[in-house]
Symmetry: C2
Subunit: 461 residues, 2 copies
């Protein structure tokens, strides 16, 4: 064989072998996920043995200990805890609310305090309710109409949005900033329609902020179930003088010590190029945080398990990061990015799963166009697994502080239809996670990590 | 404007308008489905007020009456019942089974008779069990090993298949033909591992056939839950002499009168070209038949509701057909096709939804390549709704008897991951259907019907 022919032979066989190998490796990843996956068992422990993992809670610490131990048992190169101070907000006793439609005639209402809210006075608040559809409505109504009253934000999520996340984005300002804005007009409390497309009796909590409102001017804020919101709205239409009573005794305590949980496999060829995969370990306290974001944590851990199962040794350094405090502070995500910056670490790729453990449909990317073009070229490899959505825009909250020019950020996109039925509510529980859907998500993430590790990003070339 | 320019103008504006119009119409269909849909309410009635609708049962007749009335209320041109005689098999008293691991030591086992099975003797059957993984195993073991014993078919569904329907196809022969084949070797009963990928305690029923086995040689057949199947298998490994007891008193009665329910809108331009959309109204008796196939029925009815909501008048004749007896006889599908043939009706397109009310992913088509190419050209219109699967092969059981050269048959393809968790089991119930997923399926079906009606098939051009 002369030199030229030999070279051509090498190129062709490398290309052929390379292509086959990717298809084969990805098939091996999916097969392993569906037959030897550990994610469902891990999630069962996080959900059923530990439960809701609000930042600063005992359960959050139990989750740190448990996941650290599980990562150690996977036999990765290094497992460590990254200290981070987190806010500690506690719900306190069960909230209570009712409407009084006429003197002495009351209907109890399913309610829960929003995360970060102050408590009501000890005896609760009872006064008239002014229903609004947006924060803009406040200025129109003004102090005259709002002072001394409870403001009821009742703009529903738009059911015609195909992505329920789009419907959520269109309403979340009411929950996040409603109290801060209403306080400016002298309102004494805020009730927000739960951010769910389902009409049922579950209140959905979630983060809120008082912005720069002084402590003494902060007013309590709570979420009302969608059905109760419809009922309250109807009651107000019938009788604008209807009174609403609610009582909650939540508290913001001092920050406490907590941790991000990190597992690492050192890269064999480019150890200084770091690839992150993660989810957030904290959750709200009402359910057991199975979808949000127990699923993302166990899927991220599963990436390591599946690569081990198929005998793949990463060329770049892989880190699974279980972030603390996504829900009410993002302290874990910020701290991870700060430490990375201070250490001058070169992060080339980060993937987050924080949209539920449902059937995966694809990924969103926050990247340069060149990197996106390269990743899109891998799309055919995912087609046998019905992964079809590769879109630009958005990744995940915890990895977003890593954003810089030369990094690709990505988010797993599962089917979104059921997500907000459970999001931040008492029904975000293990039994609403389907084992295969969870495993398919983990396999999809692992396949992308495999490709990124094998071929690098444009930047890491 | 001279003639040429005028002609060009006409072509361009028709093209522009046509394109916009399709996008706009489809958007209007999805919006209407998600805001004004009736399918969920109809399904609630079928599932919660009527329940399981086994062919020949009172509930099946209630479902005929109810859906006929609902179609009449939609104000379609014509609603009628098409008579068809159906088999009537009844389960009788609750089945009962246990294994005896040593004398007097028993474990109860969740079991249910397969549809069409004969009963056990009054006192039940108690004998040794021979586990096999396939029908082929029977010939290898032979009469010597099988005679007088119970055969236990325990080949699990393959979890690595991405479409769970492929995993189902790979195992269903055990359920359908296992008893007929085992009877040839003198087995006295057959136990089949439930066709589900989930490990739980629910037995899954389904159709079986004795083929040409004479009545007096037929042996009873039952499904065992997946968890119990694993347990039985382990018990046999420990002690091959373990005995299995089961008792069931199901019966095949005389055929009874039933009906397909048909609603029709006369086509404005091509009234002799008929488009069918349908599902099957009968179900198994264990759950309430919400996914299989209550969902397909209400989605098909919803097609009429949504076209009405957007003010679309079909050019071709549209029929919604709710077929009777898909599960254990296909009498409704066969009768509909026979009548159509006898009347020389020209069916150009038929669409069935019979794969659950889950998030729709696309369609499968049984058609000429030319028709498939035309349909594939519409795929971009579906992309905003995350409908991405347009594949050749397979449609639906009930519409398959309509098969001929010049017809396009299609089946809705929803996400399949959860389908067999509930299929033919007590958990096929209303609460496992998500309202938005059901509605998106109906909108997807309506959009395809709209396009077919507007542009016709190759054949109907």
């Amino acid at each position: 064989m002369n030199k030229l022919i030999f070279s051509i032979f090498l190129v062709i066989s490398a290309a052929t072998f390379g292509q086959k190998s990717d298809e084969g490796q990805i098939k091996a990843i999916y097969d392993a996920a569906l037959t030897k996956g550990k994610s469902y068992e891990w999630l069962s422990h996080l959900s059923n043995q530990i439960g809701g993992r609000l930042s600063g809670s005992v359960q959050a610490q139990q989750a740190v200990d448990y996941t650290k131990k599980q990562l150690e048992e996977l036999g990765v190169d290094r497992v460590y805890l990254q200290p981070v101070m987190v806010p500690k907000w506690i719900r306190g006793l069960q909230e209570f609310a009712y409407i009084e439609t006429s003197p002495g005639v009351t209907i109890n209402m399913p309610i829960c305090a929003l995360g970060g809210s102050v408590s009501t006075p000890f005896r609760g608040i009872k006064t008239n309710v002014v229903e609004v559809k947006s924060i803009d409505d406040l200025a129109i109504l003004g102090k005259q109409r709002l002072e001394g009253n409870i403001v009821f934000f009742n703009r529903p999520m738009d059911p015609t949005k195909i992505s329920t996340f789009d419907a959520y984005s269109g309403c979340v300002d009411q929950r996040y900033s409603g109290a801060a804005e209403a306080a400016k007009y002298g309102a004494v409390g805020v009730i927000v329609r739960s951010l769910s497309l389902k009409i049922d009796d579950l209140p959905h909590t979630g983060a809120m902020s008082y912005g720069d409102i002084p402590v003494e001017e902060r007013i309590p804020a709570a979420a009302l179930s969608t059905r109760a919101s419809d009922l309250l709205s109807a009651a107000i239409s019938l009788n604008p003088d209807v009174e609403f009573y609610f009582k909650q005794n939540c508290q913001q305590l001092e920050d406490v010590q907590s941790f991000n949980v990190i597992g690492e496999i050192k890269g064999s060829t480019y150890p200084n190029e770091i690839i992150v995969v993660g989810g957030h370990l904290d959750s709200w306290d009402l359910g057991d945080g199975a979808h949000d974001d127990g699923a993302g944590c166990v899927q991220s851990m599963e990436v390591f398990n599946l690569l081990k199962e198929i005998g793949y040794k990463p060329k770049r350094t892989l880190r699974v990061v279980l972030f603390m405090n996504e829900e009410n502070g993002l302290r874990g995500g910020n701290e991870y990015a700060n430490v990375a910056k201070n250490k001058n670490e070169n992060h080339v790729f980060a993937l987050e799963s924080d949209a539920g453990g449902f059937t995966p449909r694809g990924f969103s990317f926050d990247s340069s166009d060149a990197d996106f073009e390269r990743i899109i070229s891998w799309k055919p490899l995912f087609e046998p697994y019905l992964i079809h959505q590769f879109i630009q825009g958005g990744s995940g909250a915890d990895i977003s502080p890593l954003k810089k020019d030369n990094i690709v950020l990505a988010g797993l996109r599962p089917d979104s239809q059921r997500y907000f039925d459970h999001h931040h509510a008492a029904s975000d529980t293990f039994e609403h996670v389907n084992k295969r859907e969870l495993e398919l998500g983990a396999a999809t993430m692992t396949s992308l990590i495999y490709l990124i590790d094998t071929y690098g990003t444009k930047t890491s070339e």
